[in-house]
């Protein structure tokens, strides 16, 4: 038989805040008459040092098994009193704090009614605590190493902050070199600061950091596991160049007979089959692109190997699989650009004088296909340039959102062209809807451009204008007039990187309506995800500039460093849900309900299984289980029904 409970009530006057409306002494007298109530006490302030000591003393003296405190909000003092119980040697979950201040005294006029209501709430707690069970804090072994997927700026920042002698970071980048989209820019807004100067030293730090294992030209093929214990399979693509031997002398490039459009310049320029992503690529080691190399088309070409003085070319190189164990995963998969061919009235095609902003950035970059000379495809200098804002953005037909940085990028390009005097007397015209420029210094740049003669034409929706390319010129039809421009730049929206889809699915992350990874909360928890131990940084969660991408990387690394300490165990949520194996029918209803993908299916036993590391104890599955096989700790069915009985 269950041993009799010894229940103690502690009613707080809260310096008249409670006792001014609720007759705590009357309640005390009534409670004392209840069976199993050993003591009912009243004091002025139980949250004070003296008040806490009184509870501890009473627990010890009266040998209490359960404690009910009539006081304030659980938001304010639940932890205070849980600690008090622990100090007195009782399990902290043997306590119920009843809010008779915010929920009774402060909201009720009539003293009698307030007292009756407080009595009902305390009786409910009296019923409830009899069902309270002891729960202990639980800890699991955790791996402190981190997998960062994506070597753009946010990923590199996270890797650099986390790498330490006792914490290894695996940084996986699908491209041959680091830096992501930002390395395509010659300069950055608002101050036209040179991007390479600012970025390359950071990337070099990544390459040189002994605690970062850089897996460039590699892809994550699989990730399984959970917070503290993920296992990832990474495919290291064959580079056909031995990194330890290559010194980046460039000699192999010239002899290569193959020329293909350079994807890195968004197909504007050409590259060889053996190539660097860009001059100054980090790491500065070329790779052979198997798709275009003649050797992989059956020809016996050895020109690059012949040119190499360091025997760094290895045609027998093969893809290599690698398994890594990590405690958390940072998703830094970045963005790609909206495809303007989806807007029929733009008649966008390669070969015309219409460019996406990223292509145009390459055109005015020193490392780009024209070495920074602003020229048309026929080599002549443009006399007029039109820049179209919001391409594919803020339009239900395409992408609903604003990409945040495009206005600033177009203003920056205009400023760069004028400041560097790329073309004498060039007329730049912006076709825009409104200016979205939040960064410091951008407003000034905008005003300066207006003074320097750049025209700004406001239209209701830039996606409705028509572009017609003819004889190396573009005719732009606006609602009220027609313009001609030698070149047109389209600020195409930033869209989620489709190549990340498989990984997002494997990690069981959710995407928003636009396809970006959904963080736990857009404002107060913007780099965490609902899948514990998985973080999202940079433009994978929404379009960001360099500043915000770097901030994200720092934020995620801070969270990881705080939660996963090398050599330390991981404390997991105590109040989770559990499944009774005998009652579970294996219907899998709970699996579809769980927002944290914490429930799996044991096909051998034919039942659902809750992963106690992932469960956060919301109890949604408990309410859904048709067999009543799931129990929510501290909020069990019988506990809630007992409480309900006391209330009514």
């Amino acid at each position: 038989m269950k041993e009799k409970e010894r229940i103690g009530f502690f009613l707080c006057e809260c310096s008249q805040n409670i006792s001014g409306t609720v007759d705590v002494h009357k309640i005390k007298d009534e409670l004392q008459k209840q069976p199993d109530v050993v003591t009912a006490e009243v004091t002025n302030l139980y949250c004070s040092a003296e008040g806490k000591s009184e509870i501890i003393e009473s627990i010890r003296k009266n040998n209490l098994t359960k404690v009910v405190i009539g006081g304030c909000s659980v938001k304010q003092h639940e932890h205070t009193f849980m600690n008090v119980l622990e100090e007195a040697g009782l399990n902290p979950y043997f306590m119920q704090l009843v809010n008779i201040r915010e929920h009774v005294a402060w909201v009720t006029e009539d003293k009698e009614k307030a007292t009756a209501k407080a009595m009902a709430l305390l009786k409910a707690a009296y019923n409830r605590v009899q069902y309270h069970k002891a729960f202990e804090k639980k800890e699991i072994d955790a791996n402190a190493d981190v997998l960062v997927v994506g070597g753009g700026l946010s990923g590199c920042e996270a890797a650099l902050n986390l790498a330490a002698d006792d914490r290894k970071v695996y940084l996986v980048e699908t491209q041959p070199s680091l830096g992501g989209q930002a390395t395509k820019y010659e300069s950055s807004f608002p101050d036209l600061e040179c991007c390479s100067c600012m970025i390359l030293p950071k990337l070099q730090e990544v390459v040189e950091n002994p605690n970062i294992e850089l897996l460039n030209y590699s892809d994550v093929e699989e990730v399984v596991g959970f917070f503290g214990n993920f296992e990832a399979t990474i495919n290291k693509k064959a580079k056909y160049v031995i990194p330890d031997k290559c010194i980046g002398c460039n000699e192999c490039l010239e002899p290569c007979p193959v020329e293909v459009p350079n994807e890195y310049d968004d197909f504007l320029g050409k590259r060889k089959a053996i190539h660097f992503q860009v001059t100054g690529a980090t790491p500065y080691i070329p790779v052979i692109d198997k798709e275009s190399c003649l050797r992989f088309k059956g020809e016996d070409c050895t020109k690059c190997r012949d040119a190499c003085m360091f025997e760094a070319i290895d045609y027998d190189d093969e893809d290599e699989k690698m398994e890594v164990s990590v405690g958390s995963v940072v998703l830094a998969t970045g963005f790609e650009t909206f495809d303007p061919t989806l807007i029929p009235n733009f008649k966008f095609s390669n070969g015309t004088e219409v460019y996406t902003a990223l292509q145009f950035e390459r055109l005015i970059s020193n490392t780009g296909p024209t070495s920074g000379k602003l020229v048309k495809r026929d080599g002549s200098q443009p006399k007029s340039l039109a820049m179209v804002h919001c391409v594919g953005s803020r339009d239900k037909r395409y992408k609903n959102y604003c990409s945040n940085i495009c206005c600033s990028v177009l203003l920056k390009m205009s400023s760069q062209i004028l400041e560097e005097k790329m073309v004498e007397g060039i007329q730049i015209t912006h076709v825009y809807r409104d200016m979205t420029i939040g960064s410091t210094g951008m407003e000034e740049m905008y005003e300066n451009l207006k003074e320097e003669g750049v025209k700004f034409i406001m239209v209701p929706n830039p996606n409705d204008i028509a572009l017609n390319s003819q004889n190396g010129q573009v005719q732009i039809t606006l609602p009220e007039k027609t313009l001609n421009a030698d070149m047109v730049v389209l600020a195409a929206a930033m869209v989620p990187n489709k190549k990340a889809d498989k990984l997002i699915e494997m990690l069981m992350l959710s995407k928003d309506e636009e396809g970006f990874v959904k963080p736990t909360h857009r404002k107060i928890d913007a780099v965490s995800t609902p899948v514990e131990g998985v973080y999202v940084v940079g433009s994978a969660s929404y379009p960001k500039d360099i500043t915000h991408s770097i901030i994200d990387g720092s934020a995620a690394s801070g969270k990881i460093a705080f939660e996963l300490k090398p050599g330390k165990k991981l404390e997991i949520e105590t109040l989770i849900s559990t499944i009774d194996e005998d009652k579970c029918s294996g219907c899998k209803t709970c699996i579809s309900i769980c927002p944290y993908k914490a429930i799996g299916y044991d096909s051998e036993k034919g039942i659902s299984v809750i992963n106690e590391i992932l469960c956060r104890g919301c109890g949604s599955c408990v309410a859904a289980c048709p067999s009543h096989a799931i129990t929510a700790r501290h909020f069990e069915d019988n506990t809630i029904i007992a409480e309900l009985g006391g209330l009514l």
Binding site: E102, W106, T108, A116, G619, A632
Partner: protein, 148 residues
């Protein structure tokens, strides 16, 4: 027989993160609402088993409220959507038990909406006062409730 004014017995299931906090703010603002609205805290409105609602009526509640976080604001991502689905499912079934649908009420109260909490409580009290006592306890009393 003397007639006393009917004061309904109302239970409000509130989620820990939003609506419990909303009730706290109502208190901090000293907003008055009828004392017969009594709160039962669960971690998420998604924890509210429709059986709890039936059980509340069986044990003498004249009205039951379920209050959760606003759509998109759920602390547990989507628990409130589950609540909404269950509510929509349960509500028409109440007719079969001879319980007026208005006796069950679902709303979203954020942790800052003290004013809304007090208003919702007052309005619920008015609605249920108009409907009068449910007396389901007496009607169904002979049947066993779920084993606890």
């Amino acid at each position: 027989m003397t007639e006393t004014k009917f004061e309904p017995n109302i239970v409000a299931f509130v989620c820990n993160w939003c609506s419990y906090g909303g009730a706290d703010i109502a208190g901090s603002m000293r907003l008055k609402y009828p004392a017969n609205v009594k709160l039962l805290r669960v971690m998420c409105s998604g924890r509210v088993d429709p059986e709890f609602i039936i059980e509340a009526f069986r044990r003498g509640a004249d009205g039951v409220m379920v209050l959760g976080c606003h759509p998109k604001d759920c602390h547990y991502i989507e628990g409130n959507y589950k609540t909404l689905k269950r509510y929509n499912m349960l509500k028409p079934l109440l007719d079969q038990f001879n319980i007026e649908q208005d006796r069950l009420y679902l709303d979203w109260v954020s942790a800052s909406e003290g004013e809304k909490f007090a208003r919702v409580a007052k309005e619920m009290n008015e609605r249920i006062t108009q409907l009068g006592p449910l007396n389901w306890k007496e009607v169904i009393g002979q049947h066993q409730s779920r084993e606890v």
